[in-house]
């Protein structure tokens, strides 16, 4: 072995030996450039604000708002029916694998988890001086409010649900009782009431954030679920509510596109346009714009017609009630939305109507031979163009966004109209119910009168009486104070996000009895799938038009826990009605 070889070998051997030594401990430590860790994330006030924004974000979901909360609030009352893939709602046979339920459940719990996680992060950021005490309070209040509101809708829809309150959980918690969940709602709202800003101090730029008033509103509603009407009244009478929120003078303005975030609204889910509003952008690309409004327009206008009204609701409005024409319209009724009239001149302005009329289609021709400007005509009600039965009555409350055209015209399908979850007239009606429950009938009547006077454009008739019963026979005056409140819930709040919740809250069996009375439903077998021939009016032509009048079966006043949630958390037990 010569020296040269020896030296090379020495170098090589030492390289082999040195290699492990050269493996510094951090060779396996890398830095993530795509997502950040908690420590790296919350360095500026906006970071912490963003954390709370993401809780609100869980509500920007059409399956949650429309197909879960809205369906529950309105299909279960038989005021509205589905046409399309979800007609099981029409006869109370909602399957536990109904597609939208997991969207509701999952978004709700992810929102809860984001709220749970935020408390410590906000506190830590405040301790480190990243945010001020005031901002910390507001953000903490928002997190409490959103968690409480989410539990409110979860318990209202499913009964008792698991209470997840900690930042870290396996997610295997079993269900709590319905009362325990509403107690948690009360507790969260009480925290929020102390921490949130008042509506009067919330900067305009932050419009849409939870306020003290909204917290009092949901607290009162939750107290009503707990039958603590005195506590509910205390919440409803708080000046944050009574001083800062007012009925809009004209009922129609409550739901108008150009009156979003109005003086009557306590809390609404905000939408704005990002990207395209047609299939390619809004739906295919999954933009968080809402397919809530034109979903329900007549198929003749939008190509959809996926939900439609019960003629019985149309008949039930007392003569002179201005709410009717902006809630449900049928053959011969114009769309009275000021926004729609301003943009299109009414129904006649839509491209599909104009081209259809030009082509001589009877569908788009009025009974006078001119271009149609009504929601169908008595001669040619709009039952839909696909041959599947619809009643010819449609939701005018959600026909307000003048930008939308449905699948016709320029295919603007997805809108940015906010969805109001709670508004002041519901607070007044809630307060009336509380007063009925606590024996203050005059007080209750006074609250009802506030709502009804506005509905009638001045002074409501002294006698409260439906326009007609489902068969066209005259309705009897409503004199029972509780029934008066329930009837007002229906006529004021139908097609919004409250009605069935308020009816079920009134007590076991109350909702089923109310629906039974309102629609003369019958105790057909559970899941009776047969629609009936509506016995009265233009639709009474001896054919079926998508109207079901079966009783709400026992146990079906709440929805099934999503099967997928049970699959992932075996500790969840299904509701006994399913």
């Amino acid at each position: 072995m010569n020296m040269k070889k020896l030296s090379i070998i020495l170098i090589a051997v030492s390289a082999v030996l040195m290699f492990p030594l050269s493996c510094k401990k951090d060779f396996l430590k890398q830095t993530n450039t795509f997502s950040s860790t908690a420590d790296a994330t919350f360095q500026k006030p906006q970071d912490v604000v963003n954390l709370v924004n993401s809780i609100y974000d869980t509500y920007q979901n059409a399956d949650l708002l429309k197909k879960s909360i809205w369906y529950y609030a309105n299909f279960l009352t038989h005021d509205w029916f589905n046409n399309g893939a979800d007609i099981v709602w029409n006869y109370y046979a909602i399957p536990s694998d109904f597609g939208a339920l997991p969207a509701f459940w999952n978004n709700a719990y992810i929102g809860v988890a984001r709220a749970n996680a935020s408390f410590a992060i906000i506190a830590n950021a405040q301790k480190k001086g990243v945010i001020t005490q005031a901002l910390a309070d507001r953000l903490t209040g928002e997190a409490y409010f959103l968690r409480g509101m989410t539990y409110y809708y979860l318990a209202g829809t499913f009964g008792g649900v698991p209470l997840e309150l900690n930042a870290i959980t396996t997610g295997l918690t079993p269900r709590a009782s319905q009362d325990d969940v509403f107690k948690q709602v009360v507790s969260d709202m009480k925290q929020a009431e102390t921490l949130l800003l008042s509506k009067t101090t919330l900067p305009t730029s932050e419009l849409g954030r939870a306020t003290k008033g909204a917290a009092y509103g949901f607290e009162g509603a939750a107290q009503m679920w707990l039958k603590d009407y005195a506590a509910a009244l205390a919440a409803f009478n708080n000046t944050e509510l009574t001083s800062n929120y007012h009925l809009m003078p004209n009922f129609v303005d409550v739901g108008e596109f150009d009156h979003q975030n109005n003086d009557e609204s306590l809390f609404e889910i905000q939408f704005e346009i990002s990207g395209s509003q047609s299939w390619d952008g809004g739906w295919q690309a999954g933009g968080e714009v809402a397919w809530i409004d034109d979903f329900s327009w007549p198929q003749e206008i939008s190509g959809f017609g996926y939900d439609y009204g019960n003629p019985g609701l149309w008949y039930s409005y007392q003569p002179g009630d201005l709410r009717k024409a902006v809630t449900i319209i049928g053959p011969g009724d114009e769309n009275k939305s000021p926004g729609i009239i301003a943009k299109w001149g009414g129904i006649k302005g839509y491209a599909v109507v104009q081209s259809g009329f030009a082509a001589g289609s009877a569908t788009y021709t009025g009974d006078d031979g001119k271009i149609i400007n009504t929601c169908g005509t008595l001669l040619h009600p709009w039952y839909g163009t696909d041959g599947t039965p619809r009643s010819g009555y449609y939701c005018a409350k959600k026909w307000r966004d003048p930008n939308l055209t449905g699948a016709n015209g320029n295919s603007t399908i997805f809108g940015s109209q906010n969805q109001i979850l709670l508004r002041y007239s519901e607070i007044l009606l809630d307060r009336a119910e509380c007063k009925v429950r606590t024996g203050d009938i005059p007080g209750a009547m006074a609250d009802l009168k506030l709502v009804r006077d506005r509905a009638f454009g001045g002074t409501a008739p002294a006698v409260m009486q439906d326009g007609a019963r489902v068969d066209g026979s005259p309705a009897a005056p409503i004199t029972d104070p509780l029934q008066m409140v329930l009837s007002e819930y229906r006529h004021e709040l139908t097609a919004e996000f409250s009605l069935m919740y308020d009816l079920r809250r009134a007590g076991p069996g109350v909702a089923a009895q109310f629906i039974h009375n309102a629609y003369n439903t019958s105790a057909a077998a559970n899941n009776n799938i047969n629609q009936v021939i509506y016995p009265y009016g233009p639709t009474h032509d001896g054919k079926t038009h998508g109207v079901w009048l079966n009783d709400l079966p026992a146990g079906r006043d709440i929805l099934p826990i999503p099967q997928s949630a049970i699959g992932l958390n075996p500790n969840l037990k299904q509701n006994p009605g399913y």
């Binding site: 396996l28 890398q30 450039t33 795509f34 860790t37 963003n50 988890a113 996680a117 932050e206 990207g275």
Partner: protein, 1068 residues
Amino acid sequence: MIKKLQIKNVVAIIGLSLSLLVMSLSGYAQSGKVTGTVTDGSNGTPLPGVTVKVKGTQATSITDINGAYSINAPANGTLQFSYLGFLTYEVAVNGNSVVNARLANDTRSLSEVVVVGYGTSTRKDLTGSVASVNAATIAKVPVTSLEQALQGRAAGVQVTNNDGAPGANVSVLIRGIGSLASYGNGPLYVVDGYATSGGINNINPSDIESIDVLKDASATAIYGVRAANGVVIVTTKKGKKDGVQVDVTAYTAFQGRPKEYKVLNAQQFATLANDVAANSNGNFQTFDAWKDPASLTNVDWQNAMYRTGITQNYSVALRGGTDKVQSATSISYYDQKGIVLGSYFKRVTLGNNSDYQPVKWLKSSTSVKYSYQDSNNPFGTGSLVQLSELPPTLDGGNKFTNQPSDGKGNYGFYNPIYTYVAKYSNPVNTVSNDRYQNITNYLLANTSLEAQVIDGLKIKTFVGINLTTFTGSFFQPEDDRLVQQYGSQAGASQNAFYNQHLNQTFEWLWENTISYNKTFGKHGINFVGGVSEQKNTWNGMGGSGIPPNSIIRDLSQVTNLQLDANNPVGSNTGNGQNIYSFESQFARLTYKFDDKYFINGTVRRDGSSKFDEGHQYGVFPSGSVAWRAKQEDFLKDTPWLDDLKIRGSYGEVGNQGSINPFQYDALYSTGLPAASSGNLGYPFNKIYQKGTASTQPPNPSLKWETDYITDIGADLAFMHGDLTITADWFNRKSKDFLLLLAAPAQSGYNYITRNVGSMQNKGFEFAANYNHTISSDLKYGIGLTFTTVSNKLTSITSGTDFVTNFGGLSVQGIGWSTFTETHVGQPVGEFYGYKSLGIFQSQAQIDALNASAQAKGKGFYQRTVTKPGDRYFADTNGDGGVDATDQTSLGSPLPKFYGGINLDLTYKAFDFNAYFYGVYGNKILNYTESAMESFQNRGFVGVQNVSADYYQNRWTTSNPSNTYARATSNDDAIGSNLPSSAWIQNGSFLKLKNFTVGYTLPSNIANSLFLNKLRIYLSTQNLFTITGYKGLDPEIGIQGGNATQNGIDNGTYPSSKFYTIGINVTLK
């Protein structure tokens, strides 16, 4: 130059036929006694134990320790020398008394060199399970990629051409599916010693010397945490010491148009549309233009989009060397024009291997492989299904033309006002006007320095890099033709769009090893140990051009390229950097005694940055034993058995399941841009504010997947090595799959990456090769591989016993989100859906079922809208009605067995090769057929073309079919085409993958042309397929790399027949 080459070639070892032997003759004798010495032709060492036989007699002798023999033979007799590992050699005595023989190595035999991790072995010394494919086999079939060369050639290796698109990936499964993770089942590829983390796109198949597939844990454990799916070791050709060889190969292949679906022409389609409209209660209204079917112009979309493909491939290699320096250089060019309009694949490869040994104890080896690839597949798998769906007429659309293209710049389009066709676009227009670019450069280079310290002890340092760069762009011109003709009712114009992406993966590897290889008498020791570091860095940037106005029709006008907003890791559109690293120590010790008993132990300790501190290191041990029974006295003289070895091994190996880094860490994200559902923000006062949320909980205990593999095998040889058989039984248990799995939302996350579940693959592999030389003019060989794998899931998460399909394959249609469900105890990816009982024939039948459903508390039997002619599903759970809970297992996409048959025949100057590949016992979910039996374009408001078969046989009142449902425009509501047993078909097939006839010029003519060898051949691929499958091609693999979506025929790019003419030339 040519002359110089010829001189050197005197001693060249090119071509086995020339190097078989050199015979020396000395003296002349009348006696019958012949003596001589038998030596190894490759190195001249004496060969003891060689059987020497006088042909046609019983006279036999065996060579002694010095290779010497003595035998009585007639002067005009023929001696036959046979010895395991060498080709049998015959020579005439010709009256000589001394006949020496040099035997040539038989590369097929057990003495072949097998490349194992960090070293080599010989087949007879192997204790693990290794399948090998050599250059000669690869050369028989014109293949684009080395995976294709493996198909059917190696037992236990299932290769599926998922997709016939030019340059498409091929899926390789070694011993079944061992992971549920997406892209978690591919083997580790080691190219010239470099363990790559990506694919092996940079290799020119004709550069491959050998492919060795390591299958059991004993063989793979040296690769630790990356070894669970097997290791494919690719060794490229090197220069040989003596002489120069120049190889030129070229071929041109014509690819025929694929089989086409038989769909309706315009007249039939319009007739069907009018018929459906008439029976729909106004539910569906036909298009005015279709009301007179006879007036329509037919458009055959398959005809418009398919064409004859052509492939050209050229390769030149120069290999050779001297004692100290050997070099091999190759250049190749591959150009494929695909059978679908717009598809192509071009590849240039450059390769060099250099070895330099200046002194006996020091050696360097360098391997450099570069590849440039340009591929495009604008209308491929996933889109092609449209060709059978698009309505076969464009009448009522573009006023200028009702053809896909009129050749004057006008392209037909569908009427944008008629809702039922409005969403369709003309693919000929798209392919003709959109601009795509996908260019990838691959560089794999490594170099090593090896020193022999003392006899048998070597130290080596090895450094390599692997670089991949991708640049891609897409331009779509503005298109306002619809608006021009139809005004605003046509919707918005298509705006111009441009995007461009660049990304780069750079990886380096440094390994130092020490090895000791020594024989002491009957004891042999082989040790290798080492340390390794590897680091992989991905960088990506991508942006979109926002044209200043919407009238851009030209790429050159694109401006304002802006970086895309944050995109997730893994999409090649992300902006950012992604790094992971490995560090490892490993060792292997093999001890053998008397060439009879072998024992092997391997261990690797791998550290991976993909896991959290404290969970980064895994130790993967394995052990194996082998007994070469033939060497025992009691078998030594058994004449019919030439070799018998029995092997057994057990070990643990790991799998990182292709997970992205940082899955263990608690992460926050600001989500996707506002205009997507992945945003986390929310508008206040109608102005969007960003959101931030935790997207991933901490999961510090996350770790690699582990496989426990047991293998028992035997290697046998008969008939002087002409027949070799290898058989293995294996049991592979895999656990702790790294899955992004649905989590209870109560946890705050819809999905969490977890270690869950376990699976078992048990199977049997068999490979047999028989080669026989009848005369010097006639030789033939038969090769057979056969593999059975039985797969079952043995557990999933606590609380659940199944997992549904995940991995993103989306098939259109309500109810099609779930089409497989893997239950514990069942094979992975089992199809799942309704059991079809035929077609409802009458309203009375439906009414009766509804009545009995109502008696059981159900509202109805199947659906409220069910009518005669709809598909009738089984109430499998007996609850009275059909709903989601009645879905059931419909069969497995996994074959009961698969294998290949290879036939070789050489007759004089002609050679023939036929090679069959087949699978048996699997099912295919024929989604395409379900689509072609739905007049509705499912999941959308729209109608589509259907198959002619369906049109002619569909249920009508006058044709009460029990197989085909009635035609409707709203199958989403009716559900006749839900995932059901109606679409499950037998997927067994036997395909003639290759048939080649070659002709080699006689050597005297070749020599006169200064050629060493010239072979021309005609070859055809996919000539025929024997199958009962009703779709176009039953060769359907895993989609999206995920085992839960396997065997779904959703209209892949079809493979079709190739006809190839080629030439192989070796220059002197």
